[in-house]
């Protein structure tokens, strides 16, 4: 054996070593198995204090419209709620299933729930496991409805607000919502809630075809 090795020379010996380690790799399992959890409470507190833990609904809407997919959007509500409506591109994850869900620590992750409590809890769990790019959607799905799907121009708005509202109208139309002018805030829910059914058939289909197109590029 020793003679055989000396016969191989330096190159041969190095190659043989590489082959052995490479071949053993086939049966060695997956190297991505880290399940470490440590909490830097000061850093978390600082991020919350500096508002680094949020993504605004406008920002998220912008990303979706641009067709960016360098972020993951996670819906941590129930299956029924998800089936009734979800933001295009969102993935359904239960908080219990979060630990096993395939996520990367260097990914941008946006979480949302109905109002934000579940999302905040999921945010803490993920941050504890060093998913440092995790943020919460500001205002949750309620905020999404109020600012993106059904924006409202209050009575007596200034010119600047009106101009901004024109943009909001387009965004709202993109997501299958509708914008409205005037009226009081208290009347909002009764007018808007029925309309919420509208984007449901539209968005999943649009989202699927969009996702498929991108994957073909590979």
């Amino acid at each position: 054996m020793k003679n055989f090795l000396t016969l191989l020379g330096l190159r041969g010996r190095l190659a043989a070593m590489a082959i052995v380690f490479g071949a053993l790799a086939i049966v060695a399992g997956d190297p991505y198995t880290g399940a470490h959890a440590s909490v830097d409470t000061r850093q978390l507190a600082l991020d919350v204090f500096e508002e680094k833990d949020h993504t605004s609904t406008e920002q998220l809407a912008g990303w979706i419209i641009e067709g960016r997919n360098d972020f993951r959007l996670l819906d941590v509500r129930t299956e029924q709620e998800y089936a009734a409506y979800h933001i295009p591109g969102a993935e359904l994850v239960t908080i219990a299933g979060l630990a096993e869900y395939p996520l990367r620590r260097n990914e941008k992750i946006v979480l949302y729930s109905e109002e934000g409590i579940h999302a905040a809890q999921a945010w803490f769990l993920l941050r504890a496991k060093e998913f440092s790019g995790t943020t919460i959607l500001r205002g949750g799905l309620e905020g999404w409805k109020a600012t993106i799907l059904f924006p409202r121009l209050p009575d007596g708005a200034g010119a600047e607000e009106k101009a901004a509202f024109e943009r909001k109208k387009l965004v709202s139309a993109f997501f299958g919502g509708s914008a409205s002018v005037g009226g009081t805030a208290s009347a909002t829910p009764s007018v808007e809630m029925p309309k919420l059914a509208m984007p449901v058939p539209k968005s999943p289909a649009a989202q699927q075809s969009g996702a498929k197109k991108k994957k073909e590029g590979c």
Binding site: L10, R11, L14, C218
Partner: protein
Amino acid sequence: MATNAAVLESTRPKAAVHTASKATPQPYMNSYLAGIGLGLVLLAAFVIMGRGLGASGAFSTLVSSGVAAIAPEHAAGNPFYSEYVGDGTTSPFKDWLVFEVIGVFLGGFLSGTLSGRVKWMVEKGPSITTRKRFYFAFLGGGLMGFGAKLARGCTSGQALTGGALLGAGSWAFMMCVFAGAYAFAYLMRRQWQ
């Protein structure tokens, strides 16, 4: 190990040996041993820092800071520059890649000194003037800078680092680097041969 490598190197074809300098520089290290050394440095970066090696990022910091010093508003309005300049809380030069590249200069000088290869000269083939060589060097550097920014990294950051971590984009990038270089090699043959 090193003497072993030197012996191996000296038995190789003379065409591969550096002939331009008159001093007696030592032959280069065996390619595979140098590669293993480079790989272990890269591995050390992964284990110690959790990141790979890079080079072009440091130059982006330099350019962005330069633009910010001359035209601060222009730099602030451009997302590319402002990312490298930062929010002003720390100096943009207090950056990992900047320090790493300083190390690369030092390490190259150290190695060159030890092997007697430090010499003021111009690298070119015999059939091209120095002036032309400088034009090509500048043009090539420009393409390299542009391409590296477009691909989010150069041969160090993408090909080496991403290659070792099996990044899909990095491997696609690596293949394209070789494709691009071989495609232009024929046009450039008078510069090198």
